[in-house]
Amino acid sequence: MSTKKYESADAAVADIGDGATIMIGGFGLAGQPVELIDALLRKKPKDLTIVANNAGNGDAGLALLIEAGCVKRILCSFPRQVDSHHFDAAYRAGKIELEVVPQGNLAERIRAAGAGIGAFFTPTGFGTLLAEGKETREINGRNYVLEYPIHADFALIKAYKADEMGNLVYRKTARNFGPIMATAAKTTIAQVSEILPTGSLDPEVIVTPGIFVQRIVPIANAVSLVSK
């Protein structure tokens, strides 16, 4: 049986090179694959483009990747937070490009990539700074902005449990961006607390079918912090 299981986070991210576009799951720290990011950090890749909801919290995961200067550009909806000091410093020093995207458009653009949609009209952002220069259109009396899908080379996500085929289930609000990022990246690497024998997960409950997951990394006691 070919396996998607990787013995370590380091092995799973070994081929992520400079200039890669990487989606990182999580809403704050909930669902952020901190151990996968730490492994990426150890490799010190350069000129990364990151797609995530936030731009790192405190001194863990994504925040450290930014502090280490690995990130050239970030697409996210809510970079500035109480504990986003590493991002703030890099941004103010002009060391990181930022594209702010309304959270719902970010989610829909990621979903569109996975669903093969070429572009879509959304009402969110019409008439605001974040729609400047974008095509707009009135449809049935409502104004819309044309938004395009966001694809990625890799997606680093955190799920709750996986089976050997890569089917995933998530835990509470740690689900957030994981399922849609898994569909939008060429290679999806999922950090899970446990890999179960195939057949253990109820088919009705599987959220991310295994066809979207190329690599699974079992990390038993993953860091699980509450961001301030």
């Binding site: 458009n105 019409f126 008439g127 974040l130």
Partner: protein, 216 residues
Amino acid sequence: MSEFKTREQLAELVAADIPTGSVVNLGIGIPTLVSNFLKPEQEVILHTENGMLVMGREAVGQEIDPDLINAGKIPVIQMPGSSYFHHADSFAMMRGGHLDIAVLGAFQVSETGDLANWHTGAPDAIPAVGGAMDLATGAKRIFIIMELTTKKGESKLVKELTYPITGIGCVSRIYTEQAVFEIDKARGVLVRKLFGEASLESLQNLTGLDFALELE
């Protein structure tokens, strides 16, 4: 002589104005206080943008679970009837008009209901929008809780926004320490409640706007 309203009192007022069975999203900050005043029999369903419906109150002690947080990243509890879903489904609920009310804060609101609450426009301010724009255009009604004036005493209820806009003509009601306003597409801004020594005249002087007095 009733005093100006405190934040908690405004949150309580907003809670009382939410119809039974409404699906509601409470924005980060003051709006989250509203959940403390919702009565069980109101059967209000709270939605949080990061993928949960029937969201419970803030978690305390043993209840705290880092995987179960609200939009403000504060741990909350699960309730009977709760459900979890991913980000595209969560914002499809907003964009698709399935939320009855979103309660938000604001830097400014214009007399035509334009909302500014995501960016001060200051050049060195790091922009961060989160779900603000999706909520503003998506929810059927927007209730704003804000102080009527800035620290420098300027009115935050204005003719035209000077801050970057979040959503066009999307605000329905505005709860401030001095008065509750309602924006009526046809008749403009109505004063629905007056607090303390506020009066139609005092409000008009302070804001420079014209209001119709239609107390609830």
